[in-house]
Symmetry: C2
Subunit: 364 residues, 2 copies
């Protein structure tokens, strides 16, 4: 990989730990696999604790007198409700209510926010809006590289390493730890359903030291290097920007309605479009899907979901679940066919066709 695909403060250690491949998110390396199979990692993540280099969750820092106004302009979620110490998951939408990103917003001060972003250049969108409106804000990417510690043993490990006060941090809240004389932000969050923390390391030069500290303290907890696990995230109904949602999708059909204020009490771009969609009712919804057959291939383009001869939707992520011993997927299904329990067929990209059934999310 060339410099264009940016290394992270942890990449040297990730390589030493035996990484076998990377993906690219936000022009940055995301480890995709280590020595063990995805299935082995899945079971390990559910029982122990893992260290994940998620530096690719870049921060877009918005600060200055107009910071809160710019933040609100980009999202239908009411950010006035966020307090310092809160992590707010929220949709960012365009004028047609199409999804631009689904970041986590960290409110650092009344006039300073971080957006921990999925895979699109939110920085350029925010900068364009601010320049276009002549707002008094500073938009930048700070030197912040999240390191995730995920799994049921994460809390014990983090408490031992950084102090028991971290046990008091609530879900999607953040607090602070000290590391080598610096104050670092730590949130109870992460891209799994197994619990854990994300350290928003400020200062890339500390990356190797932080990795090593977690690594060493983690040995008694059976810590291994890991990465977002496709089986765990599909079972858990965790969506991925670019997979389950693109600018072709609005937040209501993706199930993000609880983050959308539709009563006109706040102003944001795309409000009229979103209100119209809400008034007319969404035409499709996200569903789990459990289907037959041998382990399915990787879903690198949407797979048609059919009822008889009629396409009623698509799968955008699919995998074999070793727990259910069935294939599972995340699917967007048309009104009229979206009831849980609906019998469907799945047409995979390798030509295979399998019978399946819609399920709730998370997939039980």
């Amino acid at each position: 990989m060339s410099r264009r695909i940016r290394r992270t403060p942890y990449t040297d250690r990730v390589e030493q730990a035996g990484v076998r491949g990377f993906s690219v998110v936000n022009h940055m390396l995301l480890p995709k696999a280590y020595r063990r199979t995805v299935e082995e990692d899945y079971w390990h993540l559910r029982e122990h604790v893992q260290i994940w280099d998620v530096s690719c969750q870049r921060q877009v820092q918005i600060s200055g007198p107009d910071a809160a106004e710019l933040m609100q302009l980009m999202t239908p979620r009411d950010i006035r409700k966020a307090r310092i110490g809160d992590c707010f998951y929220l949709p960012i939408i365009d004028a047609n209510a199409g999804l631009i990103n689904d970041p986590v917003m960290l409110k650092l001060a009344d006039d300073r926010f971080w957006l921990s972003i999925a895979d699109s250049d939110v920085l350029l969108y925010a900068m364009g809006l601010a320049l276009g409106r002549g707002m008094d804000v500073d938009v930048r990417e700070p030197d912040v590289s999240p390191l995730a510690i995920q799994g049921p043993k994460a809390e014990d490990l983090v408490a031992e390493l950084f102090g028991v006060h971290i046990r008091d941090i609530g879900f999607f809240k953040y607090g602070w730890i000290e590391f080598q004389g610096t104050r670092q932000l730590i949130a109870r969050s992460g891209y799994s359903r197994q619990g854990g923390f994300e350290i928003y390391l400020e200062g890339g030069h500390l990356g190797t030291a932080l990795w090593d500290a977690v690594w060493e303290a983690g040995q008694p907890y059976n810590l291994t290097p890991g990465c977002p696990n496709v089986i765990e995230r599909i079972e858990g109904g965790l969506f991925s920007y670019g997979n389950e949602m693109t600018r072709e999708n609005n937040p209501l059909e993706i199930g993000l309605g609880r983050y959308c204020v539709l009563d006109g009490s706040i102003d944001y771009l795309g409000r009229a479009a979103l209100q119209k969609i809400a008034a007319e009712g969404v035409t499709r919804k996200m569903r789990g899907l459990v289907f037959d057959g041998p382990p399915c291939p990787i879903c690198s383009k949407p797979w048609p979901v059919m009822v008889g001869d009629q396409q009623v939707g698509q799968i955008t992520s699919g995998t074999w679940s070793p727990r259910l011993e069935r294939n599972i997927g995340l699917s967007l299904i048309d009104r009229g066919s979206w009831d849980v329990g609906q019998v469907v067929t799945v047409h995979m990209q390798n030509g295979a066709v399998a019978d399946g059934q819609l399920s709730a999310l998370p997939i039980p």
Copy 2:
């Protein structure tokens, strides 16, 4: 790869042709290597003709009454000078004159432009600006997937396939061809110094047919599948956004001064910052660099360039040149040390240190 890393209309054929790896540009697959080595591809590209899937050069279409105004806002190049049929290479800069992208602009009509972009979400920047200023424009990514035909035999091949009128298309101009009843844009351009064309295929469903047509007609010309060649591009002094330039760089230091109007005759964002840089004089410049030793590793982070104990710059792309039988690189060098012929040392990421010398660009 998941759906998030988008396949292209040609990916099926690229896989059949034996692709051995991909890179990711604009959330899309870019073939990185086929069966032959980079060196073999280099020699072939200089003598014959290759077919490249460069769909990742996504188009940002800007159209509507305010399209020209929005275009001009984003770039210091005077776009009033572009005529329909012109391809304009141009820098897009932010308020600090930092480079956001270096696309090719195709003027399709007075009120309709395509930006054929490098690796950043220009669409989000343009959309943000337009929304922020309340401009009457439509900003979208059309279904356009460039296919490049590069190498000295490209013109003969394209003329045979689509008509001799393509011989009249000038460098960085575009014309039209007919393909299966559709009119398609073809430009004399491409990311090599060996000449060639890019077909901006509109309609992804035609991708396989277009690939097959070029492939078949290309056999007498010794056509092979290929991709941008790192040796050829470094020798040729072709820069890559994300490698040689980022938002930390301004267009003047990258050598793009001829695309920057500084006399105040046009308005664009970042003009004041750019004029200030011009008035003070740039502090560093792009140079070629030829250096000793065995074939260097891949440059995945900037390598310090030293004069004695003093760092005077950095290499951002480096490779072994089989033609020169030396290592070559693209470097950004500080004032005071930037003269061609300057003796330097290069400190590579594998710990190796080599003597070298600054050269002109392209590297002779």
